[in-house]
Amino acid sequence: MADLSIDFCGIKSPNPFWLASAPPTNTGEQIMRAFDAGWGGAVWKTLGDPIVNVTSRFGAVDLGTYKMMGLNNIELITDRPLEVNLREIREVKRRYPKHVIIASLMTETKEDWRVLIQKCEDAGADGLELNFGCPHGMCERGMGSSVGQEPKLLAEITAWTKEFAKTPVLVKLTPNTGDIVEAGLAAVAGGGDGISLINTVKSIVGVDLDRMVPLPRVGNASTNGGYCGPAVKPIALHLLAALAREEGIKIPISGIGGISNWRDAAEFIALGSTSVQVCTAVMHYGYRIVEDMIEGLSNFLDEKGMKSVNELRGKAVGNYQEWGDLDLGYKLIAKIDAEKCIGCQLCVTACHDGAHQCIFTGNEEKTRPPHAHAHGKATPPTPFPIGKIAGPRVPWVDEPECVGCNLCQLVCPVSGCITMQEVPGGAADTWNARVREGRNKVPGGIHD
């Protein structure tokens, strides 16, 4: 079994799975249950001066019957007295010395930061996470994402904390910024020991159309919240990868954003995360999900012949490239397996209305659309495919017209029915090479 333990800028954790600073880490009682379930660490619900919350606080986007594809919240940082939280941190560390407790912090003046950091470290926190990401409520008071969006301020406050902190300082970044690299470099400039990202995405989750009030509703009004859950994972992966391949950022990254299972976690780690943080999936299904995350990641590493999760870290970063460096000569075409096809013909509609008009039905020649690149009529394959399930309803691909876009495969409900197959393309070439060599003129341009 592969070794899942990690060292995050000196903080040792039995596995890379941490709970993100959020409702699941509100109290010591919760965190101890989470550690019993198998979580390696927890970032405590953000500490500072206690706040007052509103009712209600969460809203969600469901996708079909899947609930909470995206979650939005307008809950603020901890509403419990600092002393109570500190007492609980002390208790958790006493009972779970090998598990990681990171104190998430948010306050205003330098003196506030000094006192807060000292108290948390005295209570036994293994590290600190500066909450520069919260995009709702606290940012209106000059904290949270209003810091994360100002690189100079971010660097300055980070530097303050480094004056006081004895434990590692993680800077938590907001995705609500034009250039994540600028924010990441500011965290480095301020002396941060690590980066956490992403915090939630500024959002309005929906509108109550009967009351004409955005959601989640507080009486007859609402406000923007922070969006998280599976829906934000692609955004988080991109921002993570942007930092991971940045030369100026060598500090470890704790990846956050829609991680729900071991596969998500593996993807984050492959794009450069050292630890991963989870919130929405736990809010949905509870701490118990970590068992599968540990087992699944471990099996995956074994299967790939990796002895430690550290071998996986960053494996995919180098393959994240600019569009201009992608190979223009690479070609794929769609193949439909007549045996597996169920005849729903979703691929036909998707291709004709949403892609490149190259999937047809029926055993006769088809007239290509006037804009087709290939000449003449599209001819069905011989012998004409008769499916085991779909009979004569199996569609066929006009291969000379197929651009290999993937859409048919993406809409097909049957796994393995449509595959994208590599075919000989042109010689290797890239747009950037064409630009360098002056071959980047495509006929039919604005001045032609």
């Binding site: 019957t65 169920i342 005849g343 729903c344 013909q345 979703l346 509609t349």
Partner: protein
């Protein structure tokens, strides 16, 4: 017309109750939204099924019901009585894939039932009255669909029904666990809300209402009379208490019999869907035993396999390859048994007769054709089976003013086939009149 609540049929609950909103949405979300969908092609009324299902998923239930009713005005009763396993659901791509198919009937019921509730805003507003009027004979699904579509376009439509209740087989003949008579009558009232008039207790050809009078007074006539009396076996001992025609017994059970009546040992003669219905109804109503007697093998039964499977689960016994040759009665004339002979290839084998004891025998071997009505209308012809001849696409008969459809044309198919016929006749008339 209000029916008493303590009718025997009300002792049987819905086998497929209405979906809750969350159930309906969950099932609707499963629909793949096939292109050129096979389910549509399998529906005799060609309802745009994927579209109405996706409207349920989006919460547009009113629009969903409208999509259904545009093609099938009796989409509510059809959702409950259609043999969907043989039609739309049978052709759902999930079925071929070996997955649970989409419960199209139950989704259709959800949409139509919800959108036509009395508290909902009317789904349709009939157009201004035009100067055309149509008489319809028989208030079953074919005429109701035809009259409803005509009335929505402003054509005056009046239905003459010989029974005291409207709705045809939907009211008098559907197994209660699929559709109770009161629900069928609600649908009739909904069609009446478009301005359709129904006169019950009037039989064309009798009651001084001749075909000629209708031809003189109306711009067109639609014949949707269905089928007649149950066919008799014609064997000794058949006439008398205890031996009943299947559809007559079902009608009694649905409309008149009171709860509390005990059923003894029942024998049902026949292998069609009516025979299976009677057998299942008796079994579910607590009969001491139910035995179906069919003269050929189980494989040759015209009843649906899924219905027979249900019957077996409910305890119905099937005696294959046996033909009634007589009924046995006590000295007081009470039925005590049915006498059957074994058959081979549908023919009796001499010397193989034996008795199956029973207290009730229901004969479900078909219904007579109402040939006599054809003679009321010059040009309307009857085929060798006794069915009215009509062009299937338009419902036209040999008389330019007379249209027909439903069981009296096809010899006895599904409600949905009758609705398709009635709708097609209405569309033909509306097109001819330029409406």
């Amino acid at each position: 017309m209000a029916l008493p609540q303590d009718r025997l049929e009300n002792a049987l609950d819905d086998k497929k109750p209405t979906f809750s909103e969350s159930e309906a949405r969950a099932e609707a979300e499963r629909c793949l939204y096939c292109a050129d969908a096979p389910c549509i092609k399998a529906c005799p009324t060609e309802i745009d099924i994927p579209t109405f299902i996706k409207k349920i998923a989006s919460g547009n239930v009113r629009g969903s019901a409208k999509t259904i009713f545009d093609q099938n005005l009796l989409g509510y009763s059809c959702s409950r009585v259609c043999p969907v396993e043989e039609l739309c659901v049978g052709d759902c791509v999930y079925t071929g894939w070996g997955r649970d198919p989409i419960p199209i009937g139950r989704l259709q019921r959800y949409a139509t039932e919800k959108a036509t509730k009395p508290e909902e805003k009317a789904l349709f507003t009939p157009k201004a009255r035009k100067d055309k009027k149509v008489a319809l004979i028989g208030a079953g699904p074919a005429s109701l669909a035809c009259a409803g579509y005509l009335a929505l376009e402003g054509v005056e439509a009046i239905i003459f029904e010989k029974r005291a209740v409207a709705g045809g087989l939907n009211t008098t003949g559907i197994a209660p666990y699929k559709l109770h008579a009161q629900d069928a009558l609600h649908e009739v009232e909904w069609v009446q809300s478009f301005g359709v008039k129904i006169e019950t207790g009037v039989e064309v050809g009798k009651d001084h209402l001749t075909g000629q009078k209708l031809l003189d007074a109306y711009d067109a006539v639609f014949i949707g009379v269905g089928l007649g009396e149950d066919t008799k076996l014609g064997v000794p001992g058949e006439d008398g208490p205890g031996v009943v025609g299947a559809t007559a017994w079902i009608e009694e059970m649905k409309l008149h019999k009171k709860q509390g009546e005990k059923l003894g040992h029942v024998v049902v003669v026949g292998g069609g869907n009516t025979a299976i219905d009677v057998a299942r109804e008796c079994a579910l109503l607590g009969a001491a035993s139910v035995t179906m007697v069919y003269r050929r093998s189980a494989k040759e039964m015209s009843g649906y396999a899924h219905e027979m499977e249900g019957a077996r689960v409910e305890g119905v016994q099937l005696v294959e390859s046996a033909q009634p040759v007589g009924f046995v009665r006590s000295a007081q004339g009470e039925l005590t048994a049915i006498r059957v002979a074994r058959t081979e290839g549908g023919k009796n084998i001499p010397g193989t007769e034996y008795e199956i004891p029973c207290d009730l025998a229901a004969v479900a071997i078909g219904q007579s054709k109402l040939r006599a009505l054809a003679s009321e209308f010059p040009g309307v012809e009857v085929d060798a089976r006794g069915c009215l001849k009509a062009d299937p696409a338009t419902g036209r008969t040999g008389n330019a003013k007379v249209f027909t459809g439903g069981d009296c044309v096809n010899g006895g198919k599904e409600v949905v086939n009758a609705v398709a016929d009635g709708r097609n006749a209405a569309r033909t008339l509306l097109a001819a009149w330029g409406f």
